[in-house]
Amino acid sequence: MTAPDIGLEERRQKAQSGSAPLIDADEQRRARRRRNEEIAKYAIPIAVMTLAIWYWDRLVVWNEIEPYILPRPGLVLSTLIEDWGTLSQSLLVTLQITGFALAVAVVGGVGLAVIFSLSRFAEMSFSPFAVILQVTPIVSIAPLIFIYIESRMVGLLMCAWIVAFFPILANTTLGLKSADHNLRDLFTIYRANRWQRLVHLQLPSALPYFLGGLKIAGGLALIGAVVAEYVAGTGGIGSGLAFRILEAGYRLQIPRMFAALILIAITGVIIYATTSLIAHLALRKWHESALKRE
């Protein structure tokens, strides 16, 4: 005869809290908070961004700032549309350099990491070079590269590649070494050969590390491409966004500088979002980093 008791308890709780039983109220509250957070995640940044742009516009108007010092957001937008022909060409060039450099960095970085893991000798021989390339600022190497390399495009590519390459190499190398030691023993007991060990144990273990490196490398490749172009200077056909900024600066076309700058920022965001998405899709089934917890 427990049922009436429970009913009594429930009534007492209701009387105390003045609403539904405790658990339900709590759950509802949590659900509501989740829903609000979901909305806030998008609403808050958009609201703040809009406010900032509005304030930028007002600042220019209130202080009567000349457009060649600080243009109004509307002017930047109209410049972007007006000059879209030139700017989109440059955007394409920057994207190509960044994307291609990243792709070569992925192939080279993972390839070299695998070679390092197969041969201690190779690692000892070549890792100093990789480190030296990494720790030397790209702006200081770039002038030399443009002296030795005839093609501007190849030079830019090389600069972007140098900065993007290292995080992929370093992370993948670490990842290949990080396989669980008991699993390694298990592979030994089952007499796995070097190749099986690499494919079925080390590469999957390295995947989260590699993807972490890829996220960093994506941003660095863009930085490398932009910085190298500042060094390369001369433009003409095949000029990227960085050159458009330099050019507009010389001509005091400040709105155009802003327009190019915005395109670079958007490019960076898109690269980051893409690499994050790739990482999420690759890991969501099994890795802790992709796990959703209450």
Binding site: D180, N182, L183, D185, L186, F187, T188, I189, Y190, R191, A192, Q196, H200, L201, P204, L207, K285, W286, H287, E288, L291
Partner: protein
């Protein structure tokens, strides 16, 4: 209490006066001898640091002994061993069935050919419904079952288990002990089982090797003469208590000696 006399079981493995000294001069194992026969359930029981894991790693061929011999009857083949570690040691990126597939994969067999066998073993450990799950979605006890399934799937001559249930809660642990015995009954597996739990060793095994540390060595062998299948009846039998008390006394005596020697 009638069990088949030792002589009737085919021998599998012999350890003869095996020593293992590590570089630092630590004598992890001294003069260990052991004959393993088909169908044996042998427990290595002792405090941590007495060389239990070392003994298993030597048998698994993961490192060579410093002295002595380890011989497989009729030579060692690729299918001789299954191993279960203290952690489930599953590949987090692979589904349950792909984890159990591992021993076959490393032999170059295709999944399609052995799928039935894999599902059969998963059914044996009660996980047939979870073959498409990822390890992350399973509880600690379920992961351990997958690990056991992987060790069983090739029908190895010998299964080595290194404190497989030590990290589990008591209730899950008892359940897995029961299940392990019924698995053994169904498959006739031969097991060397490392534990630091007196009760676990008495419940599971037909032979208990009690070990002491510094140097790591076997100080006593106890034969547990109770018939399988064992269950709650054995856990509450008077002989169970007698053997457990004897094993505990031996362990404590050895521990006191080791401490006095320091």
């Amino acid at each position: 209490m009638v069990v088949a006399p030792m002589g009737e079981r085919a021998p599998i493995l012999h350890m003869r006066e095996v020593d293992k000294t590590f570089n630092g001069g630590i004598v992890a194992l001294e003069h260990m001898s052991l004959d393993v026969n088909e169908g044996d359930f042998i427990s290595l029981l002792g405090p941590s640091g007495c060389g239990k894991s070392t003994a298993l790693r030597l048998i698994a061929g993961l490192m060579p002994p410093t002295a002595g011999r380890i011989e497989w009857e009729g030579g060692q083949g690729a299918d001789d061993l299954g191993v279960v570690f203290q952690e489930p040691t599953l590949m987090p990126w692979a589904t349950v069935e792909k984890n159990v597939f591992l021993p076959f994969r490393l032999r170059g067999q295709s999944f399609g050919k052995v799928r039935d066998r894999i599902h059969e073993v998963l059914a044996l450990v009660g996980l047939e419904k979870f073959h498409k799950s990822y390890p992350r979605e399973l509880s600690g006890g379920m992961k351990m079952r997958v690990s056991i399934a992987r060790a069983l799937v090739t029908n190895p001559r010998l299964i080595l288990m290194d404190e497989p249930f030590a990290a589990l809660d008591e209730i899950t642990r008892q359940k897995l002990n029961d299940d392990l015995l019924s698995l053994k009954a169904k498959t006739g597996a031969t097991v060397i089982f490392v534990t630091h739990s007196v009760f676990e060793s008495v419940f599971l095994s037909d032979r208990i090797l009690i070990m002491a540390a510094r140097p790591g060595r076997v100080i006593r062998e106890i034969t547990v003469d109770a018939p399988y299948p064992r269950g709650i009846d054995w856990r509450t039998a008077p002989e169970y208590g007698v053997i457990a008390r004897e094993a505990s006394a031996t362990l404590h005596g050895a521990l006191a000696q080791t401490e006095a020697a320091e």
